[in-house]
């Protein structure tokens, strides 16, 4: 595994990943050696021009509205959409033959249920709400203010323009945290009984055996075995779902009625990284991590 980064200094995972991969700054691309397949992320023209010319490249699309230059479109053999929404939007910009759609997943080895017994149901469960605090601010405020009315011990995790506004208005009523690194979050999740988040956040919670509410572009209600397929169609963002916020206490109750195994099963069936990697063709060929 090799990581090539344009702007290595600003990338926070350089040292954590150095244990598992060779890491290079973009101007060291000549030292890469033979490469079988390239995954390209937020590519600039300069970055794609530095890549080994003979190796096939797949461009990973994180933001459905991303715009790719002609050079990037020509260099990349495929564009990997991870939501139906991205596929729909990008099909108006990129030749459909280059587009593939594979739902992403989470590492079920790293995200797993804690060893404690779980104990009896709490009257005031610990709920973690995590989301970015810059976009979709109106939705975030509506969800937050409804959560504050529920019988939960609320922790809010996220950064953005609304951080200080939340601190000013509700700092006494919740625990507010701006950042947990992505390689630490599996430890943090075990402090909670239920999670409200979107996309990867929901899958990580489910993998840990925790029930989850969908809170992204819109409030999507509880993620349950009988509705997870529908949630997955919009990457568990609640997009075009708009569940009734007044029903949140019942939604929490319903989600918390699921046992750990059911939550875990939803993640393994619908959001496993191994399935994701297999589908893009690199699953079995990743080097084993010591």
């Amino acid at each position: 595994m090799t990581l090539l980064v344009e702007g290595l200094n600003g990338f926070p995972l350089t040292e954590p990943l150095r244990k598992y991969a060779r890491v290079f700054e973009m101007d060291e691309a000549s030292h890469l050696g033979p490469i079988d397949l390239i995954l390209v992320d937020e590519p600039t023209d300069k970055l794609v021009m530095s890549l080994p010319a003979e190796s096939p490249a797949i461009c990973v699309i994180h933001n459905k509205d991303s715009v790719y230059s002609r050079k990037v479109q020509d260099r990349c053999d495929q564009f990997l959409c991870m939501t139906e929404a991205a596929l729909e939007y990008q099909s108006t910009k990129i030749p459909p033959g280059k587009l593939i759609m594979v739902n992403h997943g989470v590492d079920l080895e790293r995200f797993k249920p804690s060893n404690d017994s779980g104990g009896t149901r709490k009257t005031r469960p610990k709920l973690l709400f995590y989301t970015r605090l810059n976009r979709r601010e109106a939705t975030m405020w509506r969800i937050l203010e409804r959560l504050l009315l529920c019988t939960v011990e609320l922790t809010m995790l996220g950064d953005g323009d609304a951080f200080w506004k939340i601190s000013d208005q509700y700092g006494r009523d919740l625990t507010l945290i701006n950042y947990i690194p992505c390689h630490s979050i599996h430890n943090f999740l075990h402090h909670f009984d239920i999670v409200a988040s979107a996309g990867r956040g929901v899958l990580e919670a489910l993998a840990c055996g925790l029930p989850a509410l969908c809170a992204g572009y819109e409030y999507g209600g509880p993620v349950l075995p009988n509705n997870i397929r529908r949630h997955m169609e919009v990457n568990i963002t609640g997009y075009r779902m708009a569940a009734d916020l007044a029903g949140m206490p019942e939604d929490i109750e319903m989600a918390m009625s699921l046992d750990r195994e059911t939550c875990r099963l939803m993640a393994s069936e619908h959001g496993s990284v191994d399935t994701f990697l297999d589908r893009i063709g690199i699953g079995e060929k990743r080097p084993a991590v010591a």
Binding site: T2, G10, L37, S55, H62, Q78, D278, K285
Partner: protein
């Protein structure tokens, strides 16, 4: 699909995508592996292209593949420069994806 192997002294794994041909060759320490693929799959632009990648990457090598993850992190382009924290950027979902993919 037809496969053929011939003796070859080259040790590093290399790949040679052959234009206008229905064979792709892969060089291993023990020889060269030729794989017949539909010509249109070689265009890497058809719906079969992903299938081609899967066949190519998952079935043909003995050892782990040499995967390169190439990322532009200059100015946090995914969020137009936002979310800087003490000199580094925090983009939870993207970084979680990279960490997961490379481990």
């Amino acid at each position: 699909m037809i496969c053929a192997v011939e003796a070859h002294p080259v040790s590093p794994f290399t790949k040679d995508r052959v234009s206008n041909s229905s064979f792709v060759s892969f060089q291993f320490s023990y020889g060269t592996l030729y794989i017949e693929v539909p010509a249109r799959a070689l265009s890497l632009g058809s719906p079969r292209a992903s299938m081609f990648f899967r066949q190519e990457t998952a079935a043909l090598k003995d050892g782990p593949m040499n995967l390169l993850y190439a990322l532009s992190a200059q100015g946090n382009p995914l969020y137009q420069g936002e979310f800087e924290l003490h000199g580094r950027y925090q983009t939870y979902g993207q970084h979680g994806f990279i960490y997961m993919t490379l481990l």
